[in-house]
Symmetry: C2
Subunit: 259 residues, 2 copies
């Protein structure tokens, strides 16, 4: 048993999708979430900047005495996770590993995997590298879709603009078997993507895979909390009206604070 | 005469549109441009954060011994200009005043002015306040268009996505006479906007108005540089490939440095 809270961070509202998935699979766990809204979006920043910002988020969560840390951000996972895991003793889990584990059980020889994410994530080549390392004889095609996060922040996830954006971004992915949504904002476009690619493609919500992976991880480590009734504390580095609205929808009793 | 350089800052590539306009009207002037790419975009940040970031930009430019400072960013103009002008002796000019001066000579009684800009600029109400103060009997309607800057950064300024985005954003502006492009990225969509609203609407590029205003301002103050051949120095707070590409197109000999 370990009744300390789970720590999480992301640059904006995207990570709240991951929080929602963790809430589903682990309804008793307390969660402390840090949204680094002051520095949103991470997607176009340099690797060095993303590492520094991620380090600050980890330091903040360590002070809150968390039992492990989830990086609920595709960009920070790709560019900072390995370095942070070397620097800190606490377990730090990103959105990459759970999906790679899932793909390992699914992908058959000769099948193709697509990955869409932010500029920073795609440039890092982490998804391609990890999938190719773990799954032999599989072709990986990746592409940056930098407009999807701002579209999600605007709430345009099913209008004509969203449809044409998905149409344009899906052009290179007509012959794939799996599509990884490598940014936590992207599940909001899952229906449109399936409409464009067809139901034969497995469109993977990395937050959902992380929720399932985390439950197993905590069970195996005997790290689950023993009491019921979860508490959520959400911290922001800059006030952001849309973020607060989404956070309140997630849990009406959540404590939301600007730091 | 004053042969010191002109200082400019913006959060990203948008301000380079303003630099281009100043280069047209004042081809002899040396310019030092700071792109605060590490903190792009300013548009969704809180007022306090924008003031602090703008102050840092001004401090950097002061060390470069500039003769005046241009805020080539709609958001920083709306939220920080008045405060900075109280704090510093050096003249600081934003993108608002030149366009308001232009509107004063143009708008007739009963005509309507529209303003589009980032979330931060619209929330500040600065455009509405200033236009109503200076021009009596004129109706002002303003709206945030937070997707236009990311679209411009993606280079999608004339495809189907851009068309539908403009179609959606222009809905409230069907009966206006003037439309102010209150963010320096927006002139890239000028053709699509005119197509949508019709040629009867005067679509105002705030950078172009600033270029003309600045020339007059320097002439009146006897602040023009006496030698020919301008030098451009461009500084970035974070490396950004697209920014460097745009900056090089603007002037192939420009010195571009990461600070």
């Amino acid at each position: 048993m370990n009744s300390k809270p789970i720590g999480m961070f992301d640059s904006g509202v995207g990570g709240l999708n991951v929080l929602k998935e963790i809430k589903k699979t682990l309804p008793n766990e307390d969660i402390i979430y840090l949204g680094d809204t002051n520095n949103f979006p991470y997607g176009n920043k340099s690797e060095q900047t993303i590492i520094e910002l991620s380090r600050k988020c980890v330091e903040f969560l360590l002070k809150k005495n968390v039992k492990l840390i989830i990086i609920a951000c595709g960009t920070a996972t790709s560019q900072a996770l390995d370095i942070l895991n070397k620097e800190y003793d606490i377990p730090i889990i990103g959105i990459l590993q759970p999906t790679v584990e899932y793909l390992k059980t699914k992908v058959k020889s000769g099948q193709n995997v697509g990955v869409i994410a932010t500029n920073g994530t795609i440039k890092s080549m982490q998804w391609e590298k990890r999938i190719k390392e773990e799954i032999k004889e599989c072709d990986v095609k990746s592409m940056a879709c930098p407009l999807l996060a701002p579209l999600a922040e605007e709430g345009w996830t099913s209008n004509e603009v969203a449809k044409y954006t998905i149409k344009e971004y899906m052009k290179p992915f007509k012959n794939i078997d799996y599509l990884v949504l490598g940014c936590t904002h992207y599940p909001l476009f899952k229906d449109l993507i399936i409409e464009e690619l067809g139901k034969g493609v497995d469109v993977i919500d990395t937050g959902e895979k992380l929720g399932k992976y985390l439950k197993e991880y905590l069970q195996n480590k005997d790290f689950l909390k023993d009491q019921e009734k979860a508490k959520y504390e959400i911290y922001l580095t800059d006030t952001e009206a849309n973020f607060i609205e989404v956070a309140k929808k997630l849990d009406n009793n959540a404590v939301i604070k600007h730091i």
